[in-house]
Subunit: 266 residues, 2 copies
């Protein structure tokens, strides 16, 4: 057992990220002693998987833990940070949010442990391949977080709050916006009752190419060469979906702009 593994850890939150983090911690021999969530049902469900106590009362969160991982939504983190750290002001308080600064906590021993991945409760992921970005206010606490992160993941980086903000913004583009392009495609196909599954080989290959080429190099399709015939025809197919039509137009113009810029820089 390492020093870090002897720490008593409380997990604040029982959502997608908290669930995956909790499972990875216990699988690596860490001692999660309690789960807190607003609802007893979700706190209890995660506590059962981690074999620990749980509570739905903020006033019942244990005040004798060494390390608190706070994995709740950003707006709740802003509201609750003072109340939470007040429970045990000398402990190490760590949040897991990509876009929140470390200073959302006012306590001395504060930190960030940001695993950049899209999580769901129903499907747990292999934590080893997830890049984890760390920040602490106190140098000794970095040793603790690094020790934990190294046990959980093969890709551990230190990164300040400002850089992490940009990283998280990029993650929104690479995950949420990528996924939304597929939502829009599924919606277009639904008009003709074509199942979305037919798109999966194309999507898989699109992403596979990114392991070999830069996204700029990998780009294909009508917008690269700004083929006005095809673009005009495809715009007209979206006449009854003005939101999608607007997105289609902006994305096509942006693809073309990047292509021209890329050629100039060659």
């Amino acid at each position: 057992m390492t020093d870090a593994q002897s720490l008593r850890i409380v997990l604040i939150g029982a959502g997608n990220l908290a669930t995956n983090l909790g499972l990875a911690l216990t699988a690596s021999g860490y001692n999660v002693v309690q789960v807190y969530s607003r609802t007893a049902a979700s706190a209890g469900a995660l506590a059962e998987r981690l074999d620990c106590d749980f509570t739905d009362g903020i006033d019942k969160i244990r005040d004798d833990a060494d390390l608190y991982f706070v994995a709740i939504k950003d707006s709740a983190l802003e509201v609750l940070s003072e109340v939470l750290t007040g429970i045990n002001p000398n402990a190490l308080w760590v949040h897991t949010a990509g876009s929140m600064p470390i200073d959302v906590f006012a306590c001395c021993r504060r930190g960030v442990f940001y695993p950049m991945q899209t999580f769901s409760k129903r499907e747990t992921v292999d934590f080893r391949s997830i890049p984890v970005f760390l920040e602490t206010a106190v140098a000794d606490d970095m040793d603790i977080l690094r020790s934990i992160a190294d046990d959980l993941s093969d890709k551990v980086y230190e990164l300040g709050s400002d850089d992490r903000k940009l990283l998280h913004l990029s993650a929104v583009f690479c995950c949420n916006f990528v996924n939304h392009c597929c939502t829009m495609a599924a919606d277009i196909l639904s008009d003709k009752n074509i199942p979305f599954d037919v798109m999966l080989p194309l999507i898989d290959r699109t992403v596979e190419k990114l392991h070999t080429f830069t996204p700029l190099e990998a780009q294909t399709g009508p917008a690269v060469r700004y083929d006005e015939n095809v673009i005009g025809m495809q715009m007209s197919l979206l006449n009854h979906r003005p939101d999608l039509q607007h997105i289609y137009e902006l994305m096509s113009k942006s693809i073309h702009k990047y292509k021209i810029k890329g050629k100039k820089e060659e």
Copy 2:
């Protein structure tokens, strides 16, 4: 040797799609006799890989073939279709473009063979997993195209020109727009010299989820719940990139709208 394998095939075009199609045809025992391209260099390069003749003169395209696959860009297809089919008006003329109607050819025996995938010359792909969409004007020609498509791919569908247009539009969203989201992310990261590779586990997982969940179910991030604090902060990070800021705003609003619509339909 099947009947289809005895056909003399001419390949018009030597680009990404033509290259992959030509290689798949010869690997399945088909008889590609000639490659045409505007430039002798690219025609010759593909002809060498297919072990056949080539030409860069439209007037030198063979007039004794049974089947012509036309895999050139859409704008060229529109301009050249009449000249091309005039070379051998009784043969079967087939194009490979998702968004072009079958009637771009005026000849009697016309067809479409649309392999929905993103191709590159440098990396050949396994054709078996690529969905191929077929259309012909004459029923007997469907038998020929289906026989070829079945030899090359496990996923062969018949689809009319109107439906194929929507399919191709969806493919633009799932491939070109997905890739462009990654281009923009790479651009954002470049400000901080963070390598784009760090995003790959997130992107891989984002797409992996689509094999289990619908894209609407799979969506996460600040836009789903329209978290105004995070969205406002991320918008401000893009102040010096107004194009990306505009796309960020539209995509976030659209994600939220779909979520609300999805909940109403539940």
